[in-house]
Assembly symmetry: C2
Homo-oligomer: 335 residues x 2
């Protein structure tokens, strides 16, 4: 069996240097590194990750849990996932995807001891998966928040995001602003935290404007977007602007509004929040978006988890607002 | 230390039954399973995946490699990834994501011995990563194909897909059909296999129609789509229909065509191939798509890899064409 010593001898370096390259624990000059990589390949050395894991009782594997990655691929969610995968790799960890949507299956996986830590997405206000994580003893970081703000998390700062969206519309003289959020399978009062936080920020931000609150909840699909357009038309005809926090419904909303004979932005302004610039650009007209800091938050979530695992002191709470990227869907209110 | 025997005693079942539940190797009655899960939780039993891996010299982890998952999240690619993650879980394996785009980093990861097998995406005609895989001895399945058809792969049947798209347009009397594909960073002649296969299928399928071939290659972005619209307008004014195999450019193409004063489908028909129905629906007008069998192929790729690992005889080559889903972007040719 080929050992690390064989690799070191072949590459004419110390065993420690081979270890630095293999573990990514220390910078090694590119030329030296190339020599070591070549020796590894020539000798067909397969480092025994498993033996290392057994010795350290660590696997250097993180899991990312999302209940329905397959059914609703969403540009922003994917940026979170990929940001986390990159962040993990940068710290020398691997990220496994667990598209898990039942608690039992989750406990089963946690009991397997495969992963050192967990990133949890689509976090609900009261989330039984968090209870399972706490009782399993496996370290975790939430992407999102429960009602318990003490748990470690990274999240979009929805309060600031919604306030900025309202301010932007207000600067265009909008007073009657509606909100469109996402209907989920969760029971009422126990939705993903973002939905409740968005709604409460919205109610706070529009209060000084004196308009009637208008909250519409639809599925995150094209059909959901068309439903929102029609509800808006029928129930809230006074609204001159909409803030949408439902990426999957954004194209349907723009289409539905047009199908009802209203032009965007002349007769209705739209801001799509917590989405990507590229996604908003695809829609007709190109939407003004509040772009989610998703790649960054994904990476920070992985970082925070690795910090936790390695005993590095770090802030367990990260909140970053979305960034306004003007498109062609916001104009002056018709009064 | 809590052992499997402790769990079996607590749940009042045999050790074999506990093992069936933990390994997913045999169906166990739900009530029994619940009892075992409860015992695992009460005893806080963490099964030593690492010890099991050491005993079997297997980790039951598969890696999925894609060179640029982060930079270009694409609805169809995500369906492949999630299909593979589900497929792996169904067979009792975990899927790690390796967003790796350099060969050296890849060799480094393979040398770590973490994974039992690899799924490789965005496969080029001649792909140095495949050479690395072959020399590493790690089993793999390609999602896509090199020029060497003997390697194990799953892929979209692009030849059939393009022929069906041309047939559909032909049934609407189109004779002058253009093709829009994707520009990549790969050197000419060494693009991802799908691009060369699409082009050659297109040239074969339009030959009997007598029209002038029109192949336009643009980036997979909204800007790329607008560029395609403009090139089409200037260089191929006779084209009455376009087949697009470039999901990222589809919204930009539809917008660009409209911006040049041409209506879809009255003056130009569009079919978007190798994308998702939901994605095509977002565009104005809703695109007629050839929907990619991506969730299915992702799952079959994981299956084929596990079959290979477990010595199950199986077809190493799977080709499935896309499925036509009519939208509102195809109409009769204006002659």
């Amino acid at each position: 069996m080929v050992t690390m010593r064989d690799v070191a001898e072949r590459a004419n370096v110390s065993i420690a240097t081979v270890s630095f390259v293999l573990n990514g624990t220390k910078r090694v000059a590119p030329a030296t590194r190339a020599r070591i990589e070549a020796a590894i390949e020539e000798l067909n050395y397969r480092r025994n990750v498993v033996a290392r894991a057994l010795a350290s009782s660590r696997t250097r594997i993180l899991a990312l849990l999302h209940p329905d990655l397959e059914s609703r691929p969403n540009a922003t969610v994917i940026q979170f996932v990929m940001g986390a995968a990159h962040g993990a790799r940068e710290r020398g960890y691997d990220l496994v995807l667990w598209p898990v949507n039942d608690d039992e299956q989750m406990s089963h996986l946690l009991a397997g001891g495969l992963v050192d830590g967990v990133l949890l997405m689509e976090v609900q206000i009261r989330d039984s998966r968090v209870e399972r994580l706490l009782s399993s003893g496996v370290p975790f970081v939430l992407i999102g928040r429960t009602e318990n703000d003490d748990l470690p998390y990274v999240d979009i700062d929805f309060a600031t995001t919604i306030h900025q969206a309202v301010e932007h519309l207000r600067s265009y003289s909008h007073r009657n602003i509606a909100l469109v959020t996402q209907r989920t399978k969760a029971s009422p009062g126990n939705e993903p935290g973002r939905i409740m936080r968005v709604e409460s920020a919205y109610l706070g931000a529009i209060a000084p404007l004196g308009g009637r609150p208008a909250v519409i909840t639809v599925e995150g699909t094209s059909a959901g977007g068309r439903e929102a357009a029609s509800t808006l038309h029928t129930d809230f005809p006074e609204a001159t602007a909409v803030i949408l926090v439902n990426e999957g419904a954004s194209a349907g909303l723009a289409k539905g509004v047009r199908a009802l004979g209203r032009t965007v932005p002349e007769e209705l302004s739209i801001i799509s929040a917590a989405t990507t610039h590229e996604f908003g650009e695809m829609i007709e007209p190109a939407l003004t978006v509040m772009a989610a800091p998703a790649p960054e938050l994904g990476r920070l979530a992985a970082d925070a988890l690795v910090d936790q695992l390695e005993g590095v002191p770090a802030s367990p709470h990260v909140l970053i607002p979305c960034t306004l990227v003007p498109g062609q869907s916001v104009g002056p209110a018709h009064l």
